[in-house]
């Protein structure tokens, strides 16, 4: 068998397998790939995953078919011709240049596509730190308003909803500045709404992972990590801690719900009234909270100028005068 027909066989097998594999993936597996369609980021992240998958599958099949063919045919057994030797076996300019060009193209295309997807989808639900660079329209304004105590939300308008996620060892709680700054231990969201998550932590690094929402943001102590989601479907979702945070890390999960706008409004007003007594004791809504010597949330170290902090009080007179 000559060289050409051998290559033709391999390529034919590869094309057939790749096309079948890609079609199967796209139509059978793809629609079921998590995280689903609960938010726009979930939808686009699923789409990205599938795009990468159908790009990756032909690569995988190429290597596997090549390996398989080599093991079966180019093997030390009677009747197999002597191995290729000499310069042809050492290098082939065409193959090398082709390989480098194709891999570079694919890789750079993947990076460009990833960037477009990331920016177009407003950070894809990932935590963007205290100053998000890719935000949905109105989200930053809503978030700034929340700090000033002017957050509002109503089922009729189209405002983004600001929710603060506070992680601590080993639970998540959520504050709703639009509803009097109430704090709940259950995450409830309205559908068809841009949600701004302000993720922070009281102790160690946690990670807020709302799985079906496709939101993941590290909860760092003393840092506000902002992520966005645009809810599209009602239903239940899972919240897990995704960064090792100590011995009960494995048990740090709960679930949340996306409700219709009116149902959410009803829940929120009811809960706000129920929690009013507790809310009165909470510190004012802020990006971060630092528990001081009096215990969690008893007071604030300065983030802004809430309480002036004097190191001299803490460290005594050993400080040199400025």
């Amino acid at each position: 068998m000559n060289n050409g027909s051998e290559m033709r066989r391999i390529v034919t097998a590869w094309v057939i397998v790749s096309v079948i594999g890609d079609l199967l993936w796209w139509f059978l597996v793809g629609p079921h790939v998590p995280p689903g369609n609960m938010t726009t980021s979930a939808h686009w992240n699923q789409f990205d995953f599938n795009i990468l998958a159908i790009t990756a599958l032909p690569v995988v099949f190429m290597v596997w078919i090549w390996l398989g063919y080599a093991v079966v045919k180019w093997r030390d057994k009677p009747g197999v011709p002597e191995p290729l030797g000499g310069e042809a076996a050492k290098a082939s300019r065409g193959v090398q240049v082709g390989w480098i060009t194709i891999t570079s193209t694919v890789v750079i295309a993947a990076a460009i596509y990833g960037t477009v997807a990331l920016i177009g989808d407003h950070g894809s639900g990932g935590g963007e730190g205290p100053n998000p660079v890719w935000a949905p329209p109105g989200a930053i304004a809503a978030n700034t308003a929340a700090l000033a105590g002017k957050a509002t939300w109503s089922p009729t308008g189209n405002q983004p909803l600001v929710v603060q996620v506070i992680a601590q060892q080993w639970k998540f709680t959520y504050r709703y500045p639009a509803f009097g700054g109430m704090e709940t231990d259950r995450l409830v969201l309205p559908v068809k709404t841009v949600v701004v998550f302000d993720v922070t932590s009281l102790d160690v690094i946690h990670d807020f992972w709302a799985y079906q929402l496709s939101v993941k943001a590290d909860a760092n102590p003393g840092v506000n990590n902002v992520a966005f989601a645009n809810t599209q479907q009602t239903g239940q979702f899972m919240v897990r801690c995704d960064e090792l945070c100590g011995i009960w890390h494995g048990a740090m999960y709960n679930s949340g719900r996306v409700l219709s706008k009116t149902a959410f409004m009803a829940w929120a007003t009811k809960t706000e009234a129920q929690n009013a007594q507790n809310t009165a004791f909470l510190p004012p809504f802020a990006w971060t909270y630092t528990p001081d010597a009096n215990g969690a949330s008893g007071g604030l170290y300065p983030d802004g100028n809430v309480t002036p902090y004097s190191p001299y009080d803490v460290y005594g007179a050993k400080q040199p005068a400025s």
């Binding site: 003393g222 300065p302 190191p311 400080q319 040199p320």
Partner: protein, 219 residues
């Protein structure tokens, strides 16, 4: 395990050419090793500098540095001057050695070692007289980190200088004659390569000390 030593203990049957070839590799290794040591130390200090600038720019809880907080300046000056002196002496000694003044090298070497020891003493003692607590600010923390790193560097640099100096003295005893350090005997050539690498490394120490002095005591 099979015994790989049975027949080979006595002689590798080296020809003079082979010996010279390996010896040149050895000299090259000293050259490469000295530069690589600088590369490693660069990464070490670079990560310290990274910590300094990272904490400085993030200024968490407004606690990069308390007002008026400064490490003991005179200690800083002393350490800096001693290290610069040491580096200068290493370079001076190396140049004099190349010109054939081997006694100058010895004097420079021992003075440099003394300077290194003084720097070491003051660098350690500085920790005792610090006017701030280690955890009082980001500046205080990075300063402590820098001091520990600097202690390691001073110990290493002084050790290197001391061993090259004692090595020069041993060479005199071993090889005899006038200026045996400058002969073409293997130990002497290896010694000279070592001195060259050492004085190079000292140059690096000098640059780093100035940079970090500026960072911690001036800026």
């Amino acid at each position: 395990m099979t015994d790989t030593y049975k027949d080979s203990l006595t002689a590798p049957n080296e020809t003079p050419e082979e010996r010279e070839y390996e010896f040149r590799a050895h000299i090259g290794a000293i050259w490469t090793g000295g530069r690589l040591a600088i590369g490693m130390a660069t990464f070490l200090y670079a990560s310290e500098a990274f910590a300094y600038f990272y904490l400085r720019t993030s200024n968490n809880s407004n606690l990069w540095r308390l007002p008026g907080q400064l490490a003991p300046l005179y200690y800083g000056w002393t350490v800096l001057i001693c290290l610069l002196l040491m580096a200068g002496l290493a370079n001076y000694g190396h140049r004099r050695l190349k010109k054939g003044y081997t006694n100058d090298f010895l004097v420079a070497g021992w003075t440099g070692v003394a300077a290194g020891l003084i720097a070491l003493f003051f660098q350690i003692w500085e920790l005792v007289v610090l006017p701030f607590y280690p955890g009082s600010s980001g500046y205080a923390s990075t300063f402590i980190g820098f001091v520990v790193m600097n202690i390691m560097t001073i110990v290493f640099a002084t050790y290197w200088m001391e061993t090259t100096t004692t090595r020069a003295m041993r060479l005199r005893k071993e090889l005899g004659g006038t200026n045996p350090e400058l002969s073409s005997a293997y130990p002497a050539r290896s010694f000279r390569a070592n001195v060259a690498s050492m004085s190079y490394y000292m140059g690096f120490v000098a640059i780093v000390s100035i940079m970090f002095f500026l960072m911690f005591y001036v800026a």
